[in-house]
Structure formats: C-alpha cells, structure tokens
Symmetry: none
Amino acid sequence: MDRRVARTRSALHAALIELMLTRGYDGTTVEEICRVAKVGRSTFYTHYADKDALKRDGLASIGRSLRQSRHETVRDDALGFVLPMLRHAREHVDHYRALAGGHGGSMALASIREILAGIVRQEMRSSRRRTVSADVAVNYLVGAFMAVLTWWLDRGAIESPEQMADAFRDLSAGYAAMHRPTRN
Amino acid sequence: MDRRVARTRSALHAALIELMLTRGYDGTTVEEICRVAKVGRSTFYTHYADKDALKRDGLASIGRSLRQSRHETVRDDALGFVLPMLRHAREHVDHYRALAGGHGGSMALASIREILAGIVRQEMRSSRRRTVSADVAVNYLVGAFMAVLTWWLDRGAIESPEQMADAFRDLSAGYAAMHRPTRN
Amino acid sequence: MDRRVARTRSALHAALIELMLTRGYDGTTVEEICRVAKVGRSTFYTHYADKDALKRDGLASIGRSLRQSRHETVRDDALGFVLPMLRHAREHVDHYRALAGGHGGSMALASIREILAGIVRQEMRSSRRRTVSADVAVNYLVGAFMAVLTWWLDRGAIESPEQMADAFRDLSAGYAAMHRPTRN
Amino acid sequence: MDRRVARTRSALHAALIELMLTRGYDGTTVEEICRVAKVGRSTFYTHYADKDALKRDGLASIGRSLRQSRHETVRDDALGFVLPMLRHAREHVDHYRALAGGHGGSMALASIREILAGIVRQEMRSSRRRTVSADVAVNYLVGAFMAVLTWWLDRGAIESPEQMADAFRDLSAGYAAMHRPTRN
DNA sequence: TCCTAAGCGAGACGGTACGTCTTGTCTTCCA
DNA sequence: TGGAAGACAAGACGTACCGTCTCGCTTAGGA
C-alpha cells in the first residue's frame, strides 16, 4: 500500500480523536475531520464509507493492541485483566478518553466492553462455584470496571494503575469469592 | 393548560419510546415521531426545542417516579436502592428499554446513572470505613448495577427483581464489607 | 398556491435566463442559480427535480405564450407562422437568446423546433402537391427558419420582424411553390 | 510519434463515437470512454486536455475529410456542396450520427455548420443578385440543409444521396433564383 | 352564547451535512 | 519513455433533516 495512504488514514484517525474530545462523536462532522486532517472530503470517502467506519477502524487497532498487551502479562487470576487494562488505558489516554469519554462514546464503550466480556468469560472458565448465573457476574464485573475506568480517565488518571487495581480488587471481593480458580 | 396540549405531548412521548425501541435514538427522526404521534411537525416545535428536549422531558418524569417509589420503601442498608429500582424498572420496562437499551441510549443511561449515584452517595454517608475513595466505590457500584440492570432488561426481565437483587448483593460482598452502616 | 411559491419560481427562472446568457446552460450551476435568485439550494429542489426541470418549465411557458400569440394572428398561408413567430421572439428576446443562443441551447432549440414543426405540418395539410416527402419539406423549412431566427437574435434582432419575414419568404419560394394551398 | 500513440488515440475516438450513440455527448464520462477504449484514465489526459478536446480532434478529421472530398467533385453551382456532403455523410454515418444526432450534438453540429457556411459563402461570391443580405441567405441555406441532413441520418439514411439532393434543390428554388451564378 | 385566544396542521424556506460522482493533477511503478 | 494504476483535491450533485416562519382552520373556555 502507498505510503500516502497510511499518512492519510492516520491523519484522519488523529483528527477524529482530537475532535471527539471537544465536540463528542455525534457533534463531529466529516467535513471538520477532513479540514483538521488536511484531507479532501472526497478522499475521506475513498478510505472509509462513513464516520462510523473510521471509528471502527480506530477501535479495531485499540482492540488488537489491548489483546496483545494482555498476552504479554498473563496472570492466573479471576481479575487478571484489571491491571494490564488499566496500564494500557493510561498509555493511550487520548484514545480512551475520546472513544469512551464525555457523552457520546456509547458505541465505542460497547465495543471495549465486548472485548472485556470475552476476556472475563474466558477467565471464569476455571472457577468452581456457580451459585449465580455466570452472565450476571460477567456483566456485573465488566460494568463495574468500565465505570471505574471511565471515572478514572475522565478525572485525568491521577492515581496509579496499581492503586486503582487494588481498590477494584477490594471492592470485588464478593465476585472473587465466587469465582476463585478451581485449583487453589 | 389545554387538554389538547397534554394529549399531544404524551402522544409524542409514546411515539419516541416506540421508535427508539426499533431504530434507536439517533436513528429516529422528528418527522417520524410526528407521523407516529399523528402530530404536525410544526406542532412538535411549539412544545419542544428539539428531539433531545423531548427525551429529557421523558427522563425527568421517570426520575420523579423513581425517586418517589424509593421513598415509599426505604431500607436502612448500603444497597437499599437495589430492589426498589429493579421493581421500578420492571414496571416501566418499555421506558427503560427504550431509553437505556440496545446501542444508543448513552445519554439516557448517564441520566439514570446520575440519579442512582446521588442515592448511593447519600446512603454511604452512614458508613464507617473509608479505606478506598468514596467516589471509586460509588462509580463501581452504580456501574455494576447499571450493567446488570441493562443486561436483565435487554433479555426481557425474566428473573424476578428479588432474584436479581440477591445475586447483586452476593456479588457486592466486597463493597458491602467496606460500607456497612455504623450502628451494627 | 402560495404567493411565495410564485415569487420563488419566477426568481429562479430569471436567474437561469441571466446565467445562461453568460455561461451557457451546461456551465450554469444550481448553486449559482440559487445565489442569483436569492433562494436556498434546498428550496430549489422542493420546486424542481433538477436544472433541466427548471428549463423545461420555462420552455413550456414560452411554448404556451407562442401558441397563443399565433392564434391571435391567424394567416391563411403556408408560411403563416413566420411573422407571428418573429414578433414573439423579439418580444421575448432574453428568453430566446438564453434558451436558443450561444453553444448550449440544443435541447431548448429542439423543443421550439418541435412546436414549429407541429404548426408547419398543420399548415401543410391544405397544400395540394406532394412531389417530395412532406417530412423533408417540414424539416427543411423549420431548419431554415430556426437558423435565420437564431442568427437574427444573436446579432441583436436589428432588422424588423417584417423585413426578416419578407426575406424569408423570398428565400422560400421553392417551398411555397410546392405547398401552395389548394383553393387558389 | 509512436505507433502505440496512434492506437490509443483511435481507440479513444472509437469509444467516444460508440458511447455518444447511446448516452449522448454530455452523458458520456471520461471514465467510460477509457473503459471502453481499454485505456487508463491518466493516459487519456496525456493525450487530450478533456472530453471536448477529443471531440474537437474527431471533428477536425471529419472536416478535413469533408473538405477534401468536396474538392474532388467540384460543381460550379450555387448548391454544389449538397451532393458531395450527402455522400460524405453516408460514408461516415456513424461519425455523423454520433456527433450530430439525437439530442446532444449541438456543438458538433455548430462545427459542421461552420464548415458548410464557409463553403456556401464562397460559392456565393460568384452570384449576381444581392436583394437580401447574404448572411441571411447563408444561414437560411445551411440551416435548412443541416436540418434535412440530420433528419435523413436519424432515420437511417434510407433514401439515396441523389434523391435527397434533388429534393433539396427543389425546395431551394427561391434561394437558387437569387444566387444564380453570374455567367448563365 | 359568542368570540377570542390558543392549539394545531400544512408546508415554504434557508441551512447544513450527507454520500456519490466526475474531473483534472500528480506520483509511482512497469515494460 | 509511454502507459497503467490509482491517490488526491475540488466541487457539483440530489437527498435528508433540521429549526424557523407564516398562514388559515378549529376549538376550547372566559366574557
């Protein structure tokens, strides 16, 4: 693929991020994105079908990057995903705040939520107790995590990922008790 | 106020709810709302500045109704809001699913979330331990609850509110341990 | 129909005429028409499907006006249409020059040509000789007339309609000889 | 010049002709022309500045061919151009119908008309009478001829060139009377 | 009971954004 | 070096909504 293509696309991604931080997703116009990215509007449409396609593309790379960074730091733990995820979020603050923050990012959140749910569900495979529906538990945990994550990021990610992870683990004692891995 | 006014407004609310359940909020057009509500488009604008104003109006009445139903069944408990809220949600399934459900309802969710956060924060006033930031805990709990609630409603609210409340309490053991009321 | 509608439409017609005289038909943009007519571009499209529809509408009124003015001055003559037509053209110079003139007006010309052909064909009904195909004759006469008309208008319609009609009749002696009305 | 160049150009000409017969000139796209001619779009622009340049080039060669074929069969006659032109047209039916035919070809027609006008004007040099403006006569004759020619071609050029020429001469008796060459 | 202020429907209007299409320039490879 | 491929900017197109507005019709509800 042409080097120009890569340049154009990343310029578009950056512009989208930047504008979403101010106006939110819905309030951002394709024309504005192009103006900020210094790209012709028709060029935009040769790369992406619409604004959503651009966002999905951005999300996909976040997803890839997240999944990969998790594999590097495997933890044999019901809440193993927590710390890697927090670290990843802090490294990509702008992306996260743009996609998840403010009022608009429901779809983006839903996407991240979905990735997380997959991870949590997989981690639960090895737990022994099943007194509550696994689905409820997954949604509980992911919902709680997303809320804490969003709150943390929206305030500027002041605390360290480790502090947040500890606090989250304490609060999740009830969940942990039920889904402790089998072999301990 | 004219009786016609009330009729017009409630027709608009009903139409919005109905359409949001199918197309989602963003995919719903003022024109469609009016067509469904059998109301002239210009009439719409004499009542509401825009689609958002209509939604906010609907949310406000849900909020009122929710706050009121909670006062009727006060519980002196860190998780006292859970059961009343679940019951209220089940009584107004359509409203909740329309405003919170599926892919679109981020803003509506945020609104409900805000109401809940107020309630939880108030309940926490009487707790003794403060090992983690109160804000984290509030966000944790509300996020978890909203996620469970949304999941429950999206699947048709099959389980009873009591079942859900029990499951939620079990999962929240960690939270509860830290915010147990002072006087026990 | 609203008075505003009439105003809008005639403003659009006037703008089209004006711009066609400078840029020609194809070089004229819907946006320019709207700017000149001081009309919103979206309003344009509530009245006409596209630029062509606007032109056709203008042509239709010319057609009506022409046919009517002809009925007022009936001439029992194979070339009866000539003088009325020339007079009509001079009265509506701008319309004619815009629609027929320059390089663009082929479609408009074709339309006027069609009207004329109908008239000529009808006048030929009463002629006795048929040594050449009637169609050839009709096309011959109409083509010649349109060419002379266009030439006359493009140069500013300096000569009087009567002068032009006389010249045209002289040149058409061959045609007239063959299609002289039966009863003389 | 490379042989490939000639091949490319003639492929483009052929494609233009072919497409004009179906879609008309304005409805024909540079991209389509290239697709039909099996030529890259960028290659098109290395040969012609735009669609018009391609057409003009095609017209020019018709013009050359026409002027030359006329010299071969000179007639010392006011209407001397008629028969050669008709014959030429029939030999190049496709070119003529594409450029002149149907609804679109005003510019092409104008071009041919211009060539003809030159010829006629030159033939008139030797005529004695000047009772009407020479310009009117030229336009009259050329207009009539073009109309008859177009009509003839559009219907498939069924009649022989000789038949058409005779008919045309009969109809032009008035013109001929006035512009009969001096020496008879 | 009437008549007057309102609610209301219809729809013209100016905007803004959309996604599509075509044009002409320019760059990069290939044969 | 001529040609193919295709990225790119520019800008017109026709569509879809939006929010404002004007215009009459109807319909309460107070005089």
